[in-house]
């Protein structure tokens, strides 16, 4: 034991989040009491955040393979082929706990982390999205959390120069004490120029590049692996602080280093910082690493080995260069004003070895000691593949179906007023206040901007020795946590279906998914049952729609300890979906376009269930009712029809009916197209809350120009997709025969006012 270090005891291990069994396992494997830095390393590497110890057994059931998949889960991000030698690289990741404690920095560094995950693979980020969950709009903390998170995402993404093109936000009381901030990023690169997080080549130098190390974020990974106690704000020192300018320099420097072709591997320092990045790189390559902490660039004085190993300072990269090419890396870093230093080497020992001189501080100006003592010596396998893995008990919540029995007949129902109320609801209406704070057009690629279509559409410039070409991709993120709460398996399947349906609505075929699985405490069997079922639901939908999951992230312990007991968030398996266009003319907007176009609703007529709908939640104040079900085979037919119809130019517009149901979907198509419509619902649509405002999935409002009606009808018949004629586009009002009429102005104003109650005008 060295000076200033506490003695490692079972109590200290417990304080580090290790259970007694886990500590015993560590003692047995090492054959001695770990040093203090070793205990720190074990605690972060075995944390839920890094080890996925509760989720791994379930994640194996996700379909991850497909003809386009170049790299699936396990790398820093998923990689999918988009043809002509080019690929997209994407992933979604949570930054929930930090964002609740310090919204601006928490959300900003969430963006920074996911951007690094993408560019560490050699890809330039070209689009970002985010999926946010906040508590009730009336909760006293909601306005400041919303403001802080949005400003944090904007502050980072805008300065970095990635367009934030889409996303979603929902409000529900279940998130009052635990908001969700899920950040998505997508980059592009040549598929033969990918870089992996591997410490390959024994003897190769390990380089540290980027921001200097400070004390920020120490134990962030451990914090993300425990539920919140009251007074969580005291955790603020564990929140990292972001510097998007540094990240921008790091991006440009990395891209230039990649082009120089001198690297064997690279990984960003994310959760659990230097420790996790180097250990994972060693593990993937089947090698060991030795680190020399005395040489590490730092910004704080007197950092201990423990602090350096656990720091989560942002904007840092670890690179393994080919021996002899170090100087090339250092020169490029100098060009971009980046700190860089050789801090270790790849070994063949299979061990994670760290050397540091106690009491030495390079900031003192003293030269490095020639030889420094070993402070950590652990097998890489113990920290990765042999980390504890749990098959935790799952017990279905026996009270869940009690919540299905809700009688909606006595609830007040006024179609005209209810539509305006729903359009103005924070869960339904315009998100302009949010996306206007994001630079969503930088890089000249944004073809469908946020709010303008069911999915964002981005142009990708592919420039190589064969010339310059343009490709077009779509992306969307979705999850309705209320459906997942009421029926986790169906709800998760519906999240996948909706995300892919949003792609299909703009005319793109899905090529891959990323998921961000936000749940409560996995040590509670009913939470674990939700998780298990959600995985199965995602897998069901992936198989039906023939789309793989290529990357993802699990965030557990999203719950708060309240006086009445633990309160978990709604199970929220957020899905980010990416689709590819054959040609730019396939892109379809969501708004009605031309007077006289015919309006149809495509998809099976549902069962008008109100469970989990915005309407019922507003009327009852709780998430209840029997939720909708989904016919995945019908969904697949619908989506392939939409993509085919878009390619044939048959659709003037297409818009998915989601929160708020059919009537809201129709009104949104009017608002977006700045055009009215004269419609009549056929007899099978009951004039009930369920018929008008129920949120059955698999329904899409389309408009069709009269002169292609014949071909449209033929294609509908061939595909076997249910199709119901509703009326025609035109006028300055939405008129629903025998129900009500709304002027375009009142629809627009209601929709535009959705967030006013939270953030003001």
């Amino acid at each position: 034991m060295r000076a200033h270090e506490p003695a490692v005891t079972p109590e200290l291990a417990r304080e580090h989040g290790l259970t007694d069994d886990e500590y015993a396992l560590a003692l047995k494997a090492i054959g001695r009491t770990p040093t203090f830095p070793e205990l720190g390393v074990l605690s972060v590497m075995w944390s839920e955040h890094c080890s996925y110890k509760s989720s791994r057994v379930h994640l194996k059931r996700l379909p991850t393979k497909g003809p386009r998949v170049i790299h699936g889960p396990g790398e820093n991000a998923g990689v999918v082929d988009i043809g002509d030698g080019w690929a997209v690289v994407f992933k979604m990741e949570s930054h929930n706990h930090p964002s609740f404690i310090e919204p601006y920095q928490g959300a900003g560094t969430g963006v920074g982390g996911i951007l690094r995950d993408v560019f560490t693979m050699g890809a330039r980020p070209v689009a970002a999205m985010n999926s946010l969950r906040f508590g009730e709009p009336t909760h006293p903390r909601t306005p400041s959390l919303l403001r802080g998170v949005v400003a944090g995402i904007a502050g980072y993404g805008n300065a970095f120069g990635v367009p934030t093109v889409g996303g979603e936000v929902q409000f529900d009381a279940a998130y009052n004490g635990n908001i969700l901030v899920n950040a998505f990023a997508l980059g592009t690169c040549r598929s033969d120029r990918l870089f992996l997080g591997q410490a390959k080549g024994v003897g190769n130098p390990i380089l540290y590049v980027g921001a200097r190390t400070g004390r920020d974020g120490i134990h962030g990974a451990t914090m993300a692996s425990a539920e919140f106690e009251e007074g969580a704000e005291a955790e603020r020192p564990t929140v990292q602080v972001g510097d998007p300018f540094m990240e921008k320099l790091l991006l440009e420097g990395c891209l230039e280093i990649f082009a120089a072709d001198v690297l064997e591997g690279i990984q960003d320092m994310g959760a659990a910082g230097l420790t996790s990045s180097t250990v994972e790189m060693a593990s993937r390559a089947g090698n060991g690493v030795e680190l020399w902490l005395d040489r590490l660039p730092r910004r704080a004085k007197h950092l201990s080995a423990y602090e350096i190993l656990l720091s989560e300072s942002q904007e840092r990269m670890i690179m393994v260069a080919r021996l002899g090419e170090e100087q090339r890396v250092l020169d490029i870093c100098a060009k971009w004003d980046l700190d860089a230093q050789v801090v270790g080497r790849v070994t063949d020992t299979g061990r994670f070895v760290v050397r540091a001189t106690d009491g030495y501080d390079p900031l003192s100006g003293e030269p490095w000691p020639a030889e420094s003592p070993v402070v950590v010596d652990l097998p890489v396998g113990l920290l990765t593949d042999e980390a504890p893995m749990y098959s935790r008990p799952c017990v279905d919540d026996p009270r869940l179906t009690d919540r299905y029995g809700v009688d909606a007949t006595g609830l007040p129902f006024d179609p005209r007023a209810d539509l305006l109320e729903l359009l103005a609801a924070p869960n339904v209406g315009s998100r302009a206040w949010i996306y206007r704070q994001y630079d969503h057009i930088v890089r000249d690629g944004t073809v469908v901007r946020p709010g303008a279509g069911d999915a964002a559409v981005v142009r990708i410039f592919c420039e190589d020795e064969r010339g310059r070409r343009e490709k077009f991709i779509a992306m969307a993120s979705d999850c309705n946590g209320r459906f997942c709460e009421l029926d986790p398996r169906t709800g998760a399947a519906m999240a996948v279906a909706e995300a892919c349906r949003n792609l299909a609505c703009v005319g793109a075929a899905p090529i891959g998914l990323t998921d961000c699985l936000n749940f409560g405490n996995p040590q509670r069997p009913e939470i674990m049952a939700q998780f298990r079922d959600a995985i199965d639901g995602i897998a069901d939908a992936c198989k039906a729609l023939d789309v793989p999951v290529v990357s993802g992230n699990v965030s557990l312990y999203n719950e708060t300890t309240e006086a009445s007991g633990p309160r978990a968030v709604l199970p929220t398996p957020t899905i980010g979906a990416v689709g590819l266009f054959e040609k730019v003319s396939d892109v379809v907007g969501a708004g009605f376009r031309t007077a006289g176009d015919h309006v149809f609703v495509l998809g099976p007529h549902g069962n008008d269930r109100l469970g989990g709908s915005e309407w019922l939640t507003r009327r009852t104040g709780k998430v209840c009712g029997r939720p909708p079900s989904i016919d995945l085979a019908a969904e697949a037919l619908l989506q392939s029809f939409l993509v085919r119809a878009a390619r044939e130019g048959l659709l003037a517009s297409a818009h998915d009916c989601a929160e708020g149901g059919l009537l809201v979907g129709l009104a949104e198509a009017c608002i977006l197209g700045q055009s009215g419509a004269a419609l009549a619902l056929p007899a099978q649509y009951a004039m009930t809350p369920g018929g008008l405002f129920g949120e059955d999935p698999s329904r899409v409002v389309v408009s069709v120009t009269p002169y292609v009606l014949g071909l449209f009808a033929q294609r509908v018949a061939e595909a076997g997709v249910p199709c119901t004629f509703l009326g025609r586009v035109g006028g300055v009002a939405l008129t629903l025969a025998d129900v009500a009429s709304w002027t375009l102005d009142e629809l627009r104003e209601a929709h535009a006012s959705a967030l006013d109650s939270i953030v003001g005008r």
Binding site: N158, D243, R436, I441, V442
Partner: protein, 232 residues
Amino acid sequence: MRAVVIQFPGSNADFDALHTLRDVVGVQTSYVFHKTPTLPAGTDLVVLPGGFSYGDYLRCGAIARFAPVMADVRRHVERGGLLLGICNGFQILTEAGLLPGALSRNAHLRFECRDVFVRVDADGPFTQELRGRVLRLPIAHAEGRYQADEATLQSLEAKSLVAFRYVPATTPDPRAPANPNGSLHDIAGLYGGPRRNVLGLMPHPERMAEPLLGGTDGRLLFHSAVRAALAR
């Protein structure tokens, strides 16, 4: 005709400018790194692009004016060469003293990205035959509120140097006022330099130059600049 786009550390709309000039307008265009002491021979147009040069730490654009390349940019202006500062580029121009006044934090204190309408209010190399036209261009900034003392404003107006002014849309949106940032005199862009050869503006013409991106109004400025450069 030859154009260059200066890359400061933190520039991020450098690609937007390069793409529009090179691929859309068809001008020979290249990047010039901020540490380069001299512009390429025969440079007609220099673009200071949007972004967050030097992180916009201290003040937006405050550090970029000290970049090694800026001395030659000044000489380029003195020779009558065209200089266009877009967004952060406009901020750099005011910090460098190449245009008067300052761009401060938006009145509502938020970053704002959306389309705005601006009227061309002055003649010059970037706006030939465009005076009086209303253009739809996107903005994306947090510090675009033009401020100057009264004497400066009077002088700008008297010399007709206000190139662009925010004007209302045909269908006003109460949540998106015509003047998006509280700029004095609704100023969105200014001419300066010995021959009106310097233009700074907050909106991004290089992001509205293709039908695919929602409009082509921005292209008009570049076409005008090409004509001006060829006429020299």
